[in-house]
Structures are given as C-alpha cells and as structure tokens.
Symmetry: C2
Subunit: 375 residues, 2 copies
C-alpha cells in the first residue's frame, strides 16, 4: 500500500466492516459516505457545514473540474483543497463516467476517450495517463483509474471486452500514478463485469495482480435494480482483499447503503442527498418526504428536533415549505444541509452498530422504520 495511506479494520459483524482509513489530510471513518462536490463545491453548502455534519471526505468530479475552471488553473491556485476551502481528504473520480455519458459527443479507443465539452464544445482527450495527471494536479488524496462503465443489460462478450479494456487502463493508470503522485496519495482500481459473476471475478483477479490501495465496484446503480446490485456485491466483495477499502461508486439511497454495508462495502458516494435537497426532498428516518406538499404549510415541527444539525433542528417544516414555494435560496440551502447531516448520522449509526456487533438489529430497526428490506 502507498506509504502514508493505510486502512485498519476495527471490527466486523458478518460481512459488515468498520474501520479507519488514514491519510496525510486526516482519517476517514468507514463505512463512509462522501458528499459529492462536483464542480469544487458541495452544492448549496458551506464546506465547514459539510465537515460539521460529520463528513470525513468529499468527492470531486474530474470531468467537471478539467473543463471548468481547469486542472492546471486549480493547481496554480494551490490545488483543489485550498481552492474550495476543504482541507480534508478528497476522492476524485477518473472523469470516465461523465465522459462516457456524453454519447455522440465522445469516441472510445484503446488509447482513451476523445470528447467535446458540454460547456463550450472544445475538444479534449481523456486517457488513463491524463486522468491521473489531472487528479494529481487537483491534489486528490484518493484517485480512481479510468474505466469504461457499460450499462446493464449488456451481452456477455461485450461486457468482457469492456472489462478487459478497463483492466488494461488500470495497469496504465497505476504506472502513471507511480510517476506523478505525491506521498500519501492512493489509487483505487475499479472492478467491472456488468452482472456476470465470472467476469466480476476475473476483473477482481486482474486488478489484484496489478495491485491497488483500494478497490471500487463500478458499473452498478445504472438501472439494474437493487436485487441485481446486491447479488453482484455478494459475488464480488469476497474476492477483494480484507485489508483494503471497498468502494461502491455512485450509491445510493439509504437502503442501498445499508444493504451494501451488509455485503462488505466500506465507502459510498451519491448526489442523492444534495440533489434531493435542492428539489425539496428531505430524508427522514421513515424515508423521504416532499417538503413542498401542502400538508407541511402549517407544520410547526422541525425535521428532527433531536438533531445536532441546525438545519434539521431550528426551522419548522412550515418555514421550509414556505421557502420552497417562494423559490428562496435558503430552502435548498437548509434541505441540502439537512440531508447531508442525515446521511452522515446514518453512517455513524452503521459504524457504531458494526463496532458493537449489533448490525443485524440495526438492519431490523431500519426495516421497521422504512419498510425496506435490504437482506
């Protein structure tokens, strides 16, 4: 493992794990949820509030940052941490997922992906090497290999070709990382293989041979449904080394997270809490509510009077309802803050439950509160 970066398991409960990732910029308690700071900001939140909510690490998007303001510009301004006033760990994706989503605007070859910017139409090329170079310019503490992320369903032969391309890109990413990275930075490989267990196994074996500081499970949460996702995790997680963090990319709803922890996952990211917050959806222990509904217009209760988060505790549902109806900035600001704090509380409860050996009780309570089964 890269010097200065380490992962210590503190406890396990069934397949569920809790531990700590140590980085030069601070520790990350796992299972961890990373709020998404797409373009150098967790949308509608102050970085200090993201931290106070309990986040140890946030995610930045290479694709967005390379286009605007530009990786070289961020580097000249002292790196992404200084730029966005977030001194703690940052994980960046490779940019691949967003680039692949450009459809007709991109072209995939062995070398990498050429594409046109969605902002100004300018031409760019993302290769495994350039992705790592950008992530190093940003100063990301945890960097991700460039991969291809096909949608499910996909024919098996196509899935294998894609997985093998990602495996070759993993090797190239690692070589580039060894050349360019700073001490204490880490590189994660990404397991692909769609919903084919044997392809997932082959992908994992190839990545392990190359060797990474952590392993992500990619290509899920792309519409395949929760049952398929959980089955892939059950087939994949046991093939990943116990002493490395496991990251399920782009997931998810609280039930997805609880179910994935039960299957051995340590790290998560998703735009859901922030995006939902901007659109008036608040997560509660019993599931999501739409604060814009008329039923809240006269409701004097806050979202969670027992919360340590001011957004959850100090404003009535009636006020939040009013802010959204009036189109006020403060509505998205408060509801994003609430949702980010809600997710961090969920992770803290998961960690405590695993540490105490009572994760199955936690899952049962979760099911009772939300009606969602995750096993």
């Amino acid at each position: 493992m890269t010097a200065g970066f380490s992962f210590s398991l503190r406890a396990t409960d069934g397949a569920a794990r809790t531990g700590v990732i140590e980085t030069p910029r601070g520790e990350i308690r796992t299972p961890a949820f990373m709020p998404v700071g797409t373009a150098g900001t967790v949308k509608a939140m102050l970085p200090g509030h993201v931290r106070e909510a309990g986040a140890d690490i946030i995610l930045g998007n290479t694709y967005h940052l390379m286009l605007r303001p530009g990786a070289e510009r961020v580097a000249a301004l002292g790196g992404l941490h200084a730029f966005m006033n977030w001194p703690r760990p940052i994980l960046t994706d490779s940019g691949g997922f967003q680039v692949m989503s450009l459809g007709a605007l991109r072209k995939l070859t062995e070398e990498g992906v050429s594409f046109r910017s969605h902002i100004d139409g300018s031409a760019h090329m993302l290769t495994p090497e350039r992705s790592i170079e950008i992530q190093c310019l940003l100063g990301a503490d945890i960097q991700m290999q460039l991969d291809e992320c096909p949608a499910i369903p996909i024919e098996k032969e196509a899935a294998r070709r894609s997985m093998l391309l990602s495996a070759r890109w993993a090797e190239r990413s690692k070589r580039a990382f060894e050349e360019k990275s700073a001490p204490g930075q880490a590189l994660f490989g990404i397991v692909q293989g769609a919903d084919y267990d044997d392809l997932r196994a082959e992908s994992a074996a190839r990545l392990l041979e190359t060797g990474f500081d952590g392993y992500a499970v990619g290509g899920l949460a792309v519409g395949e449904g929760r049952a398929v996702m959980f089955r892939v995790l059950e087939a994949t997680a046991p093939r990943l080394p116990a002493d490395r963090p496991r990251y399920l990319m782009g997931v998810g709803k609280p039930a997805d997270i609880v179910g994935a922890v039960a299957r051995g996952i340590d790290m998560f990211d998703c735009v859901l809490p922030t995006r939902a917050g901007r659109h008036g959806q608040a997560w509660t222990r019993n599931g999501p509510i739409n604060i814009k509904n008329a039923q809240y217009a006269d409701d004097p209760a806050p979202l969670d009077p027992a919360s340590a988060c001011p957004a959850s505790r100090d404003y009535s549902k009636a006020y939040l309802n009013h802010l959204f109806r009036a189109g006020e900035y403060l509505g998205p600001m408060l509801l994003t803050w609430h949702n980010v704090a809600f997710y961090q509380s969920l992770m803290a409860e998961i960690r405590a439950a695993v540490a105490a050996g009572r994760f199955s009780e936690f899952v049962a309570d979760f099911r009772a509160a939300t009606g969602e089964s995750v096993l």
Copy 2:
C-alpha cells in the same frame, strides 16, 4: 414614546449622530443598516450569519408576507421571529410601497389600496388599519404607517394632495397601532412631500402633531438623484425631533449612507448588498467589483484578508469567479454574506467615527478610497 422602546443619543458630530435604540428584543446601534429579508429570509443567508456580520435588526416586507405565507399563518406559527429563526428586532414596512408599484393592478382611494396579488391574482385590500394588523400579526418590533409614495418629479399640487393623504393615514395607523400593538413595539411615521421643502416641512409638522416613536423620510431613492436626495434631507432632518430615530427608507449605496448620516439620519435599509451579491457584484473599500470578470479567474486573493467574515476572508476571488461562472449556489451565498458583512463594517466604522468626533476625517477617507463626494 412607547414603553419598552427608547432611543438614546450617545454622541453627535456636526449633524451626524450615533446612539442606541432599546427594544425588548435587543438593542439597535445607530446609524444602523437593516438587511432586507423580503419574504421571511435575507436571501441566500443563514440568519445566524446575518447576526454574526453585525446586524442588530432586519427588515421584512408586509406585502410579500401577507400574500405568502400569509400573516395569520405566520402568527399561528409563533410570529415572524420564530418563523424565520431571527430572535432580534425586525422592522416591517407597511406594504404600501410594493402595492403602489403594482400599477394597473391596484386602485387607490381614501380608504386604502385595493390590489391583485402578483402571485395568484387574488384580490386584497390594504388600509392603514389592515397594514398595522398584519404588522402586529407578524410581531414586528418597529412598524411603519401606510403611506403613498409618489415618484419624483411630480407637480406640487399632486404632491401636496398625496402628502395630506399619507398624513391622514398616519393618524389612522396610530389609532390602529394603539389598539393592536404589544408592549415594546414601536410605530414610525413617514415624511412625504416629494422634493418640495415646504411640503416636507408641512408633512413633518403634521406627523409630529400625531406623535410617533420614530420618523422616516420616504419617497426618496426613487430616481431623483443623490443631489436632490441630500437637499431634501437637509431640509427635513432638522425638523425632526432629536430624541427620535430617523430612518431613510430604501437607501442605499455606501456613498448615499455616508452622506445621509452626515445629514442626521440614523437608520437605513436597502436590497442592494443582497441583490448585488446574488448577481456577482462585491462591494469593496474602493467601490463595487464584478467578480465574474475574467481578470479574477486566476486571482488567489480573497475579497478582504483582514475581514472577520469567512466569506470575505477564506475564499479566493478565483474561486468566487468559478462559482459564478459555473452557476453554483455557493457563489451568491458567499457574495451576499460578504456584502452584508461589508455594509455592517461600514456602519460600525461610521458609528466609531461619530463617537470619536472624527466623522469629517471618515468622510475624507471615504472620498479618497471611492472617489465619491458626499458633502
């Protein structure tokens, strides 16, 4: 003066004054600038940050609040202070200014103004009595009489007719206030008369006869220009009692404020710092800058490294430029916060200068920094 509400002059320097208004919800240091919280929120700011920036009092708009969420609803939810999580003093306007701006949608009679909501077209009537009733439902600490606010230029006869109507409404407002208000709440009358010194004098004399806790100068900052505004203040302020606060409504730019303080004004409100902040304009000691300009894209300096305000101190101009270019919420959030803090620092410096008997040096320094003459 209303029991529980008082104004103490602490020092004067020429016509400039500094003092303290005491209310049951806390004191207001004067000269004071009130950030505008139109619809129950100082746009894009947390109330705690408004306070930390130095604001002792904010302004709420009766017109907006009566339409949405509705004054009776706010009252049922505990009043505007509890509703918006701002426990300190609030001044509400009468609603008249916004209603008069509705043009063809409103009709003025001796009784009051009937109008249709800009939100849903519903019919409403605002009278002096209803305006006070709404302000009492909201729980405003300082309430304003309903008045008519004609544009300048206006023929003298029309200006006098309008001023006399406002004076009759002032009397009706006071009777309603005496019936409905809670202990410690205060009512201000509003001097009208356009740019006719003798009408302003007559308006002030009529209001003094009725008797109010404070006196506002209305009908300015409506396009008449700074020279006319200052001349009207010079004619009007000396006719107002020294032991009552004087409030210049809807003003203004820093130079307007400094010039009005030099002419004996104690209180101000304006949407400028918040509206400008949402649109990328940051106020600095040398005047406003547009943070979206390309020249800031690589500027590592914050807006004010010596400020106690995190928004001014902890984020580079390059980052703020990026946030506005990317259309991120955090751009308006930080720039509004910066501008509100800038205005509050300006007021603190004005108060200190008047208290120390060096207000003319302050005005000279202000002119040297901004190039704007206010005398």
